[in-house]
Symmetry: C2
Subunit: 510 residues, 2 copies
């Protein structure tokens, strides 16, 4: 690391320019090789540079430009850097060496097998939340903690450091219910049913959800096809005061901001770390003000948690960390073998939710059943039902229309309810042979839905017509592709036809 | 990781364009958001993309452009990507998903504490050398192996995988001497003396050196001020056949290419790993065809090896790995307290070397002494001197002009000898008080030399006038700054005046 020279012979200022380069959230600065600041400050490609504007500073990684699309008196910003600084056109920023990143010493100590102390976790997470770590440094921290190298106390300290580094919502006295799904199952849109069921029974459930990161739809994406989700803290508070609940996008609230930053390197590295997973989940929940959290944990070979042993280990860790941080946790292991509901994609998933709420004949029973189980657990946790009686209560609230009325109430409070969009371009994908639907590959289905345009195109995705155990005839539709344009439809179809493992049909052996 | 769809509905081709963006060696691809390939292939920011051109393929990280400096039918390349593909203007490249990176499984296994097997090391290093790892993935591998997590056998296997992944120079029968300095001491330009001394005694010493990575000058930078160093393999061979030695830049030969790639992430992470250091050093030497290697290991608080215990541990590992790979190793711990010679910077270091070779009155005795010690060790290893008699032989060869004649011979064979350039802008930096020169901070001096323009400006750097233990009067020159322009001179001077710790003068206590 460079250390910051403790002087500045002349303030180094350059005109900021938005280059329109999406570096996937890493703030990147572009300076011309002939830029006076580059040579006077001794910056070179890959240097970390502190950019200051009107009292705000960010740290970015430098790319040195020799091309002519950037002038020597300009400092070009990547989209992430531009968002963080939000300059006005023509603004001049100050460029200097960032202070030495002392907390990297703690990362090195962890690499060397020493424990991450509470103070170390606070220092590292504070610097990460402030955007002071480069992607390489983030990758080193993630790797140093992966492979189950965090013990219980380290996980507790990391979780605490993570929620302390951001905002924390407070809801006053009383219970605040929350739920989280560990993920990996497309279409698992139970949240939009659980929240109205639980709230209709009188429990408070302010739910902040994420948009899709790698999946074809996040809860916020699906909910957004029915009502606005991009609310600020004051609006969220009003919705919850009025209805007892909300289903909003968490991005407008700075809850556990280090988590969002760590996720951007955890994803391409695909390094599983139970300690980091627990810290990620629970720090968000504590920051959101929850007192009771139900963890929906789908277990299956193509889900995130792949075995019962992994599920048991993760459950123990969640309970232990929750206990240390005064958060009541209940874990519900669920079937992670196949998608839940029929739709995969924002609008198609919202359509399934509406069908269940409205109680129509075609409503997916698996989605309704799973939502009632989960809501039942929360009702029991919150003292609204005796042990074992929660599910029945949830079913009753769903059947008699109370959940549907509560859902409409929430949508209206969030800004008004709307119908989900419907795709103009659809195409059925037929079975290549007659036989038994033996298996469904969640990852391949997710990829097909994304190729069809989900989640960006809200109406795009997959409508499943079969589940494992069904018998199909050759040529019978396995699923229908939904797309926003003929081109993406054709592309997703081509791909789907080459992926027979997505929905595996085996010939009848009898 | 994305898996590669096993089809391609239409080959995805775009016109390549050199954008002139230096991303510090990571190959980066820029595509416009509206580019048809982006949407049809499902690429998004941070996707890894395989770029194919005329049978050659590289893998690059995608940045998505929304600005207007790139057209939708263009694929912009960073400098590193452009170098690797070396396209002609207007060339069209094929863009597709790279094959799944199976070797990442071995990295994950190492993260989880399992051993890196020989097959795993071959697979990982093969993919790294082929440029298939992103910087994030490289950082994960480096971190997983750091903290002394590689045992002896893993280090041997890693070393073997590294030299096998590139070219290997072969020199026929007989001894091939080499040396390596572990680094951290500015101005330690002994190689340019050791090679002619050793070669003058009849030992073969084909020396490939590096350019500066973080220092104000590498051996290749200093040598280049006296003779061409950028020779291809055939030229190198001719020089060695004619003179028995060479001092060239190793960059033109693909020796242990994974090492160069790993270094680009090790540097910003600053994670010390003795296993990786040994694999890095020895894989380069074996690839260069050496049979006997002397390791110059400066030990000192601001050198790379900071304590005698570290030095002992590193020595043991070097010997053990060398023995396993049939390489004879000798380690020479040297004083790492202060710079060697007077000059810091390519031309100033070359000037010191010339002074020693020519035997002038002002030649730095510390540089001459150290070079003779190291050369003596090599002469003993090569059987040219009895144990303990090598240093005296080296001194004789230096004193009687044989080394100087051999050096001139080498320079002529490499393309012709020249005088090093002299800076037009110089300025003395005076002592702020009278007293004893107590300590010299190698890192601060290196930074001042770099601010003055070294190594890019060959004549730039620092000329030291004092060594620890000297007494100085207030106002007496501690060193002279050399620069290529008045601006950089003023800048480096400003900085130097604020860094009294660079050369620490303590007042006389008597």
């Amino acid at each position: 690391m460079d250390s910051r020279p403790n002087f500045s012979p002349s303030p180094s200022r350059l005109r900021l320019r938005r280059l329109g380069i999406d570096t996937y959230q890493e703030p990147v600065l572009f300076m011309h090789r002939d830029c006076p600041v580059c040579s006077s400050e001794g910056f070179e490609a890959q240097s970390r540079v502190e950019i200051g504007l009107a009292g705000r500073t960010i740290v970015a990684t430098l790319n040195v430009v020799t091309g002519d699309f950037l002038a020597p008196d300009e400092a070009g910003l990547s989209e992430a850097a531009w968002r963080l600084l939000s300059p006005s056109p023509g603004d001049q920023a100050t460029l200097r060496h960032p202070p030495p990143l002392e907390s990297l010493g703690h990362v090195r100590a962890k690499v060397y097998g020493r424990r991450l102390t509470e103070a170390a976790a606070q220092a590292v997470i504070g610097d990460i939340a402030a955007g002071r770590y480069s992607d390489l440094q983030l990758a080193a921290f993630v790797t140093a903690c992966a492979g189950d190298r965090l013990d219980l106390q380290e996980t507790v300290d990391l979780t605490r450091a993570m929620f302390r580094a951001g905002e924390r919502m407070r809801w006053g006295d009383g219970l605040v219910m929350d739920k989280h799904c560990v993920g990996g199952i497309p279409g698992n849109r139970t949240t939009m049913l659980v929240v109205p069921i639980v709230a209709a029974c009188g429990l408070r459930m302010p739910k902040t959800s994420s948009r899709a990161i790698t999946s074809p739809a996040g809860t916020a994406d699906a909910m957004e096809t029915l009502a606005p989700v991009d609310l600020d803290v004051a609006r969220i508070r009003r919705v919850v005061e009025r209805t007892g609940a909300c289903i909003v996008w968490g991005g407008a609230v700075r809850l556990s901001p280090a988590d969002d930053i760590l996720i951007r390197v955890e994803r391409p590295l695909d390094l599983d770390s139970q300690g980091q997973l627990v810290a990620s989940i629970l720090s968000k929940k504590i920051a959101a003000g929850a007192t009771h959290v139900l963890i929906d944990m789908p277990v299956g070979p193509t889900a995130k948690v792949r075995s019962d042993a992994d599920a048991a280990h993760l459950s123990r860790l969640l309970h232990a960390v929750g206990a240390a941080l005064e958060l009541t946790i209940r874990v519900a292991p669920t079937d992670g073998l196949a998608p839940v509901g029929r739709g995969i994609g924002p609008a198609l998933e919202a359509r399934d939710v509406l069908a269940v709420l409205r109680g129509g004949a075609g409503a997916p029973v698996d989605l309704a059943g799973r939502a009632c189980s989960l809501a039942g657990e929360i009702l029991e946790m919150g003292g609204m039902a005796a042990a074992g009686a929660g599910r029945a209560l949830a079913q009753e609230v769903l059947r008699d229309g109370r959940a549907w009325r509560k859902f409409q109430e929430i949508c209206e409070a969030q800004g008004g309810m709307r119908e989900p969009p419907v795709a103009a371009h659809v195409r059925e994908v037929p079975a290549a042979r007659s036989g038994l639907v033996a298996a469904v590959d969640n990852r391949r289905l997710a990829r097909i839905a994304k190729l069809a345009g989900a989640p960006k195109t809200a109406c795009a995705g997959i409508d499943l017509h079969v589940v494992p155990g069904d018998f199909v005839e050759r040529g019978q539709a396995l699923f229908t592709l939904h797309a926003g344009s003929p081109g993406t439809l054709a592309y997703a179809l081509d791909y789907a036809l080459q992926q027979p493992e997505a929905i595996q049909v085996v010939e009848d052996a009898w």
